[in-house]
């Protein structure tokens, strides 16, 4: 017996190693304690050790790399900065104008949602984090962030960039956390096609693409349509950009569904800094509300100025006979009240022929009635 173990020592060790890991795999698959962590709590400890092993080096590398790039971009490579600044100022002015134009609608929309008791979730607070590492595998789209539980992060928090949604937090460790990108095969989100308002579920693939494969063919869905978060997954706030439809083709393995491939709004391969949404609420934050109200007032004043005749005294009178290519009259204008045309043969039913109601007596004959009065009063039945 002893010679058997000595003789087959090497394969026996290999079999033991494989067996232990197979049991570990089975344990992880069998115990989905949390949908966000399908591999269970025990695996999380191993991940914590591994991340703790590499995170300090990654943090150092990221810090030094960031420093070098920062020194280059902030102090050395300052060409075209003045021109860029001017361009940005112009762009900012333009954005202020656009914002003023839409703020009134936003305030009204918010008020109407309140009336309908519609629970819209607005982003109230975020934590900025830096990407310090990756999973190192092209089959797992996972990034390591430099913020963790010490920044009050918890698993499942949505992660965004100014361009749009990028993913959600998977495991959160004391000083680091794992960001599961939308392109990971285990990732998913509820989305809404912007123009058609069709709801769908997106998921990642092992090739790193983002697809929607739960929709049947629909002629209204076209490439180039924007896709937003629907808020239905209770993870991402509603209305965040996710991407645009890149291609639509039939899914041969899941007929009659289609495979819609999305181009992500944010460049998921080049993420440097991200925002983790730590809280959402039913109302906008007070500062944003004040700004929107101010913009709405400015916009309302502009509209009033356009409508008031006194503000247009200096302008030439418009020719009433000229063809009407101007804007239609506003909704509350008296021009919208229809005026009837004069009758060719007026009678008692014609407009204006009836006296006002205040001049009429109930039961009295019509003044215009031409019938002759009876000679004798009508007999009335008298009680016997």
């Amino acid at each position: 017996m002893e010679s058997f173990f000595v003789r087959f020592k090497n394969p026996l060790v290999l079999i033991a190693l494989l067996l232990v890991q197979a049991i570990a795999l089975a344990t992880q698959v069998r115990r989905p304690e949390d949908p966000l962590r399908p591999d269970g709590q025990h695996a999380r400890l191993v991940r914590l050790w591994a991340v703790s092993l590499v995170a300090p080096f990654e943090r150092l590398s990221a810090f030094s790399g960031h420093g070098v790039r920062g020194a280059w971009s902030d102090y050395i490579d300052l060409r075209h900065v003045r021109q860029q600044n001017e361009d940005l100022k112009k762009q900012l002015d333009q954005l202020h104008l656009e914002r003023a134009a839409i703020s009134e609608d936003a305030v009204e929309g918010q008020r109407l949602r309140g009336l309908l008791d519609f629970k819209q979730h607005y982003i109230q607070s975020t934590v900025a984090a830096q990407v310090i590492g990756t999973s190192g595998s092209d089959q797992s789209r996972l990034l390591i962030l430099d913020k963790g539980a010490d920044a009050h992060l918890v698993p499942g928090m949505p992660v965004i960039t100014p361009d749009g949604a990028v993913g959600k937090l998977r495991d959160v460790f004391p000083t680091t956390s794992q960001l599961l990108l939308l392109s990971d095969p285990t990732s998913g989100a509820g989305v809404l096609l912007q123009s058609t308002r069709i709801r769908a579920i997106l998921r990642g693939t092992s090739q790193g693409a983002i697809i929607i494969n739960n929709l049947t063919p629909d002629d209204r869905i076209k490439p180039g349509e924007k896709v937003l978060t629907s808020g239905g997954d209770m993870v991402f706030p509603r209305g965040l950009a996710v991407g645009t439809i890149e291609s639509i083709k039939p899914d041969p393995e899941h007929q009659p569904y289609t495979t819609i491939v999305l181009k992500p709004a944010a460049n998921l391969n080049r993420l440097e800094e991200v925002l983790i949404v730590t809280s959402t609420g039913n109302r906008l934050d007070p500062l944003t509300e004040q700004e929107l109200a101010k913009d709405a007032q400015i916009h309302a004043a502009d509209v009033s100025a356009e409508r008031l005749p006194s503000m247009h005294e200096g302008k030439p009178e418009a020719d009433p006979n000229a063809p009407s290519d101007a804007m239609p009259p506003p909704d509350n204008s008296t021009q919208l009240v229809p005026k009837p045309k004069p009758a060719l043969h007026p009678d008692r039913y014609s407009t204006g022929s009836a006296p006002p109601a205040t001049d009429l007596t109930p039961g009295a004959p019509r003044p215009s009635q031409q019938t002759a009065p009876p000679a004798t009063p009508p007999e009335t039945e008298k009680p016997q």
Partner: protein
């Protein structure tokens, strides 16, 4: 003058490494594998930890050592991904075991053999990971993209050949 009598390739060319190198090189490879794709996303197609497993397993020519090295490196790699822990551990344990066993039989310092070995092990690992995902984990949507895996194997081999020549310097004869 003492004389040596060797009875096998294993006795002839069994190497060892200083503990610093044996720990630092796999760790460095894991670190690079996790960090460089942040700067160059396409770098993720490479598998530097696999190259570390092959190199150390072949150099030590000890199947148990090779299997243990492969399992350890694979488990750390798994822990950094969002996948189940054990997928890479199992695949790399088998590769470490086979690489060590081959190292006993043939001259693995030959460049042609190194090319064939790295290419073959890279493909073998892809096939094993596919099989584990598909059969053991029941992930039926997993697909094996052969062209992608061939490119991966080719790139791994292209990196492995000069890297192994560099790492040969840290070998110490037993």
């Amino acid at each position: 003058m003492p004389t040596h009598s060797y009875t096998s390739r294993r006795e002839l060319e069994e190497y060892r490494f200083s503990p610093v190198v044996a720990l630092a090189v796999p760790l460095l490879f894991i670190l690079l594998q996790a960090y460089i794709p942040k700067i160059i996303p396409r770098f993720a197609i490479l598998d530097l930890p696999l190259l570390a497993v092959i190199f150390f397993a072949v150099a030590r020519r000890n199947p148990i050592y090779g299997a243990l090295t492969g399992a350890a490196i694979g488990l750390v790699q798994d822990a950094l991904t969002g996948q189940y822990i054990g997928i890479n551990g199992m695949a790399k344990a088998v590769i470490g075991f086979i690489a060590s066993s081959i190292g006993v039989q043939v001259d693995v310092e030959n460049i042609v053999l190194r090319i064939l070995m790295n290419f073959g092990f890279s493909l073998l690992q892809s096939a094993m990971i596919f099989a584990i995902n598909k059969v053991m984990l029941g992930q039926h949507e997993t697909r094996l993209l052969w062209l992608h895996e061939l490119i991966r194997a080719g790139l791994n081999t292209a990196v492995a050949v000069p890297l192994f020549l560099f790492l040969d310097r840290f070998k110490q004869r037993d």
